[in-house]
Amino acid sequence: MKIEILDEKFDPWQAIVEYKRNQLQNNSKIGASSVFLGTMRDFNDDEEVESMELEHYEGMTEKYLSNIVDAAIKKHKIIDGLVIHRIGVLKPTDPIVVVATWSEHRDNAFNATREIMESLKSDAPFWKKENTNKGFKWVKPSNELTENTNET
C-alpha cells in the first residue's frame, strides 16, 4: 500500500508504473488493474476557475487514507492499493488524485477503486478553494450541490 500527499505537480501514470515495477514486480497473481484519475477543470457553477488551492489536515489525512485503503484491501480482497493526492496550488488539467488497485479479478479492482474514491471524498480532510473570475471561494461538498456539480 502507498499513500502519498504531494505539494507539487506529478505524473500519475509514471507514478503507477513505478509503483507496479518496484512493489508488485513479481506478483503473478494480478489479473486486473483499475485506475481512477481526478483532474482539475477550468469551470464550476458557470464560473471560470483559474486556479485552485488544496489544503489538508496533516496527520489525519494520512491516517484516514491508510484506513480507507486498508479497509478496501480486506473487503474487496484486492492485492494492493495506491493513493496519491495533491495539495497546494493547482492549475486546470493538473492531476488532483489518483487511485489504483490491483486484484486477481476485475470486479474486485473496479469496486475497490470506486469505494476508495467515495470514502476519500466523504472522510479525508482536504478542502478546495477556487480562484474564479468572481473571486476566491471555498468549494461546497458534493452532497450540498444540486446542479452544475464540480465533481471529479
Binding site: 481526478g38 488544496l54 489544503e55 489538508h56 489536515y57 496527520g59 489525519m60 491516517k63 493526492h85 488532483i96 488524485v97 474514491m117 476519500l120 471524498k121 466523504s122 472522510d123 479525508a124 480532510p125 482536504f126 478542502w127 478546495k128 478553494k129 471555498w138 468549494v139 461546497k140 461538498p141 458534493s142 452532497n143 450540498e144 471529479t152
Partner: protein, 77 residues
C-alpha cells in the same frame, strides 16, 4: 487542563487564526468548547470535529492534551 485547537479552511477564516493553546475546565464537551469559541462570530452552516485525528461528535468529553480540530465538510478528490 490544556488542549490544542486547530481550525481549517472556512472555519479558520471565521476564527481569524489557525490554532490556539487553551486552558479549559475539566470534562467539558466539544460542544461546550465550540459554543464558547464561536461567540460573537459568524456561525458556520456546518462544522465537523476531530480529536486526535479521529472524528468525534459534539458530546465528546475533552481530556488533557487533546488536539481538537474544527473544520467544514471535506471537499477532496
Amino acid at each position: 487542563m490544556k488542549i490544542y485547537v486547530k481550525y481549517f479552511a472556512s472555519i479558520r477564516d471565521i476564527m481569524g487564526t489557525e490554532c490556539a493553546n487553551l486552558d479549559i475546565e475539566e470534562s467539558i464537551s466539544v460542544d461546550e468548547l465550540w459554543q464558547g469559541l464561536i461567540v460573537g462570530k459568524e456561525t458556520p452552516q456546518k462544522v465537523l470535529v476531530a480529536v486526535n485525528y479521529e472524528y468525534v461528535n459534539m458530546n465528546y468529553k475533552l481530556k488533557e492534551g487533546d488536539e481538537v480540530a474544527f473544520f467544514p465538510p471535506v471537499t477532496g478528490g
